[in-house]
């Protein structure tokens, strides 16, 4: 089955890559079919490389932009324990961004190039981060629903055909599961707290539920990249399949939380063995993707500002490194770096 799909894949790319050695294509297809990992030095179709760069960049950008809605509440966190948890989470997200940019760099791009594309609006980040965090409960709703959706999406990526991406996802998923439990626990504390806290939690779930379902992307019949990505084993499940799994996971969790999901059409379908749910507002999804969401402008402006205002710092670090490089002009090797002198740049 997998081999047949892979053959079809090759047919598509052959038309544009006639010059490519047929042996290489066969080796690539065989590796994908056998569930082997493709590694940076392996030959791969240009379109496979381009798809991965696009997806990994978008994923990395989402981690970076995703710091903003949560960081919005660091200075107002209502207890020192919650503040520490939130700071640690935002720190982890910066770390995830770093892993993902590094993984993308194995495909021949650079972090600088990808960030430039993000700042220029030529690469996307997840639509979810264009929604505002209006109350403290939003921090919990993001943990439970947004991280929950991300995990549902990302766990299958741990088996993605591209090795560096799959390995990055193993590390990221571990940390994300931890965040998700913390978000759930935050909401549980609110739900069982005072009346005002409970109302705050319900309001947050009302606002984050539908945007979280949109994180799985357009429905299968409108998803342009899905078929190819599944053939290449970058994706393992369709958008709708993952979305259904997520709803099935969330319904009992909402009950345990004592909160309602804002969808009157959710009901268990005995025959299908899964939940049915209401229609997603795809017009809103498209508007947010096109830049017309509630916070698109603020998010990208803040990102650009941080980058522009930090330019002199990066220039200083580069100038310092150049001045203090060893006298000979040969490329520096790790052994020539003093561990402490480069501590700052190599925290990651």
């Amino acid at each position: 089955m997998a081999a047949v799909t892979a053959d079809q894949t090759t047919q598509k790319t052959l038309g544009t890559e006639d010059a490519v050695d047929a042996d290489r294509i066969a080796a690539f297809d065989a590796a994908v079919a056998a569930d082997e990992r493709i590694e940076p030095r392996d030959w791969m179709p240009d379109a496979y490389r381009a798809t991965l760069v696009r997806q990994m960049a978008q994923h990395a950008h989402s981690e970076i932009i995703g710091m903003q809605p949560e960081a919005n509440w660091i200075t107002r966190a209502p207890s020192l324990r919650r503040k520490a948890i939130l700071m640690a989470k935002v720190q982890d997200e910066a770390g995830h961004g770093l892993y993902l940019y590094s993984a993308a760099e194995t495909l021949g791009t650079s972090r600088e190039e990808l960030l430039d594309k993000l700042h220029a609006g030529r690469q996307r980040y997840s639509s979810i981060f264009n929604y505002p965090t209006l109350t403290w409960a939003d921090v919990g709703a993001i943990g439970w629903l947004v991280d929950g959706a991300a995990i549902t999406n990302q766990v299958p990526l741990c088996r993605c055909s591209y090795g560096p991406y799959a390995r990055a996802m193993v590390r990221i998923c571990k940390e994300e599961s931890f965040h998700q439990r913390q978000g759930y626990e935050l909401l549980l504390a609110l739900s069982r707290g005072t009346e005002a806290q409970h109302a705050m939690a319900q309001d947050a779930v009302n606002r984050w539920w539908w945007p979280s379902l949109m994180m799985f992307g357009p429905p299968d019949d409108a998803s342009s990249h899905s078929e190819q990505s599944m053939a290449w084993k970058i994706k393992r499940h369709s958008n709708d399949e993952l979305r259904r799994r997520f709803v099935d996971i969330c319904v009992p969790q909402a009950e345990a939380l004592g909160l309602k999901l804002p969808d009157p059409d959710i009901r268990w379908n005995e025959e299908l063995g899964r939940h049915e749910f209401g229609a997603i507002d795809w017009a809103e999804f498209q508007a947010v993707l096109k830049g017309d969401g509630p916070c698109n402008e603020e998010r990208i402006t803040q990102r650009r500002r941080a980058h522009e205002e930090g330019a002199w710092v990066r220039d200083a670090a580069a100038a310092y490194a150049a001045k203090h490089a060893p006298a000979q002009s040969s490329p520096r090797t790790p052994a020539q770096h003093s561990a402490t002198a480069h501590h700052v740049e190599e925290t990651a």
Partner: protein
């Protein structure tokens, strides 16, 4: 706790991702230390969220707004060198702070290294970074004297004069290696030295705690 809060304001705004990680990491260490210290006295949240400005005993240095990255680094340099030297002494002695200091001294050594490395990079980087680093050092200099005012309860274990000369020597060394000039002038701030320890703060501090305490105070008695 106050410095941790200030560093938390950097989240998502740092010049490079590595610094988003590093500043959050330092903020977390400091918050962890603050929680241990506050818990020695009472309930950490009550002390953090329900005290008025005049009841806070933090140094004026740590409540200063972030400014640009050089300003933040200058504040970190002054404070983390001080904290490192102080915790080394406390860890070596015998007081109720020995345990905390023994653990924190490792974290603070990292903070100090981070601040020193950046002071060198900015001081000896470009003309612009040099100017900005010098102005950060100059602007915060007047708040540094307060760190060496005797603190009730610690006086028997800490020789403040020796701490001050050790601090001055260490900071002078970094400043000179970075090609910068040690600021001149008073180190006692606008208030008498030791003002922060008496609950006399600078104006930005009131706004900082208004933001920090707002949500907690809006829900009296709630748990989070």
């Amino acid at each position: 706790m106050v410095l941790s809060h200030r560093l938390g304001e950097w989240a998502g705004h740092a010049p490079v991702l590595e610094e988003d990680v590093a500043l959050a990491n330092i903020a977390l260490d400091l918050l962890g230390q603050a929680r241990v210290l506050l818990s020695l006295v009472g309930d950490e949240d009550e002390l953090a969220y329900l005290r008025e400005e005049r009841a806070f005993r933090n140094l004026q240095l740590v409540e200063q707004p972030n400014g640009d990255f050089a300003h933040t680094i200058a504040r970190q340099l002054y404070f983390s060198v001080y904290q490192h030297l102080l915790y080394e002494r406390l860890a070596a002695g015998e007081s109720e702070f020995t345990g905390l200091a023994a653990k924190a001294v490792k974290e603070v050594a990292y903070h100090r290294d981070h601040a020193e490395q950046w002071a060198l990079r900015l001081g000896d980087g470009t003309e612009e970074s040099h100017t900005r680093m010098q102005s950060g050092l100059d602007a915060l200099w007047r708040f540094t004297g307060e760190m060496f005012q005797p603190v009730e309860g610690l006086d028997s274990t800490v020789d403040w004069q020796a701490l001050e000369s050790g601090w001055l020597a260490a900071v002078t060394d970094v400043v000179e290696r970075a090609g910068l000039t040690l600021p001149a002038g008073r180190r006692t701030g606008g208030w008498a030295a030791g003002a922060g320890r008496q609950g006399l703060h600078t104006e930005p501090f009131g706004r900082m705690i208004a933001e920090m305490q707002h949500l907690h105070r809006s829900h009296p008695g709630a748990s989070w």
